[in-house]
Symmetry: C2
Subunit: 348 residues, 2 copies
């Protein structure tokens, strides 16, 4: 082993020392003094979905309809970063975004800091960031849009859910009313123009989310037992995934889930699944108030049944000012720190 | 400096040695013996685009139209990996995918090997993988689809270009005719089902590509002087970008560009831009035959005018069997090796 280590050191010491002396001609985002990320693997794959016959595939440059054929629909794009040194929790951490977002949610924050994907890599987790079926690099099924045009049936065109600053504002709790901000908000509102482009359209509106649990299940069927982090609209699909694959979900970290709707009869399935539900600040009187109540009750039921479950309202834990997009908030590392601490204690 | 290095080594040696001994509970893709990727930075940003008022933003759960508001449209998602040790070429390498694809083009190949993004990181390039405006994590403008439905005007719904196996087959030169494969093809045809999910729909068909040059220009305006790699449909936008920002493009590597259409009057703008055009095998008699002729002539004109330009037909360089998707072909490292060699010689 010593021999191998020596070969390894000889091969990589230059690389590491180079990091200290490298003269850079790169933009500001590259001019940091962070220690390097040392990744054993960095890559991507697609999970789930199926080949499907598509009749309406678009229009040729001459205006004629393109021929029917075999497309691939319903899959999830998954990007992984596996650190060279992993922590004691040997199962992957799968991170799923919310509605009208993509996996970019967990990458660089709007104000240019490292996001949660890298935060957890640096703490030794193998992280897998998912683009939900229908979102981002997973693509979407556009056939109904073509059909609406070709067959002159406008009513069958799906709704394209387009996020707007006005609609997001109070719902994401940047402030009580657009464009006013809460005085103590942790959301980096001075860099909102770097956040807005994260939004991707939702094809089929809320119906599109029906594909998310099958997408997550495909990911877990490929990875095996994992920790699942959900956000907002992926909260419900996360619970469904846990119920359908209780042997493949070691823990669920639900960041402001859209619901905590699990039938009492299903609670025993969470016996070996640790659950953490996190909400931020300003929830009282917001669109999230009822969910805070329902999720706290859900966690209490899980605990009462002997499960490992925690409800974390950030202001109660001393973190003030957090928005719905807490993985981008200025204190995002502090929030991630609480999640990390809980994971270390709860996941064996 | 020696002191700093010692601190650095003490902080990171454990991480590196850990890579040799780490007991893994991860799937096969994580079980490799490659040396780790050592990244000084790993993150993403969005370039270009603008806030815009959108009238038709989709349908509420109760079926009523969602209110108008401010969305963000036309931007490009950019994901970067900056190695700790960079090579002598101090400018970034920007990689742009082709039509109906996303930046996943340059990630893990369908048969599970490292893609070109990592290949070039391992050779010391700061790489920036772009999702074109309208594709993948860049999202698209869905307003016209909503308008077609709400105002019952099906004719204004954009064409959604959906890639099919049958249409891609001969065009990407997997074989002469679907589903037959060329006997010597380098494309990993046994893992086609891991390739098909890479396809993303193109909203607006070919018209969508009008946003690509502005997208690339925004990326370069943020990064400064760079090397630009294009593929297929991004070939034309790549030349346009070079013509509009000759001071910010050090080199263009055009992988099977959709065209090599540059007016003679514009050739002097390429004086300080090195150009490499690469085509694979089986182009004779294919949809690419005319482009091979046109691109060879373009390169000859650039050379005659004193520019640094090379036309690389892979079979002429001894590499046989390459498809249009050569960054995924089984010999993708050999192709990248030729590109890397050329870059080292051509870019000062």
């Amino acid at each position: 082993m010593r021999g191998e280590r020596e070969v390894f050191m000889r091969a990589h010491l230059g690389v590491l020392l180079g990091a200290l002396t490298c003269a850079a001609a790169l933009p500001a985002h590259a001019q940091t003094t962070r220690p390097p990320l040392v990744l054993q693997e960095d890559g991507s794959f697609f999970a789930g979905g199926a080949k499907t016959q598509v009749l309406h595939t678009g229009t040729n440059p001459d205006g004629s309809p393109a021929p029917s054929g075999t497309a691939f629909i319903g899959h999830a794009y998954v990007q992984y970063r596996i650190p060279a040194e992993r922590n004691a929790i040997k199962v992957p951490l799968v991170l799923m975004h919310g509605g009208r977002h993509s996996g970019a949610t967990y990458e660089t924050t709007p104000d240019g800091r490292e996001g949660w994907a890298n935060y957890f890599v640096r703490r030794g987790f193998a992280t897998y960031v998912v683009d939900a079926p229908g979102a981002g690099r997973s693509g979407f099924n556009g056939e109904a849009i073509n059909k609406a045009r070709v067959e002159a049936k406008p009513e069958i065109a799906p709704s394209i859910g387009i996020a707007t600053a006005e609609a997001a504002w109070a719902n994401f709790r940047f402030g009580a009313k657009y464009p006013e901000t809460y005085p103590g908000t942790q959301f980096p509102v001075s860099t909102l123009d770097a956040y807005y482009p994260q939004w991707v359209p939702s094809v089929g509106g809320t119906a599109a989310i029906a594909q998310w649990a099958p997408g997550l299940i495909s990911v877990l069927d490929r990875l095996g037992p994992s920790i699942l982090m959900t956000h907002s609209a992926s909260g419900g699909p996360g619970w469904q995934t846990a119920l359908q694959r209780p042997d493949k979900v070691r823990a669920v970290v639900a960041i402001e889930p859209g619901n905590c709707t699990v039938a009492d009869a299903d609670l025993p399935k969470f016996k070996s699944i640790a659950v953490l539900v996190v909400f931020g600040d300003y929830t009282e009187g917001s669109t999230w108030a009822d969910r805070v109540v329902a999720c706290r009750a859900f966690v209490q039921k899980l605990s009462a049944a002997g499960g490992t479950a925690k409800f974390l309202l950030l202001p109660e834990a001393g973190l003030k000012g957090n928005s719905h997009m807490m993985m981008m908030d200025k204190n995002s590392d502090d929030v991630a720190g609480l999640v990390n601490e809980w994971l270390i204690a709860a996941v064996k």
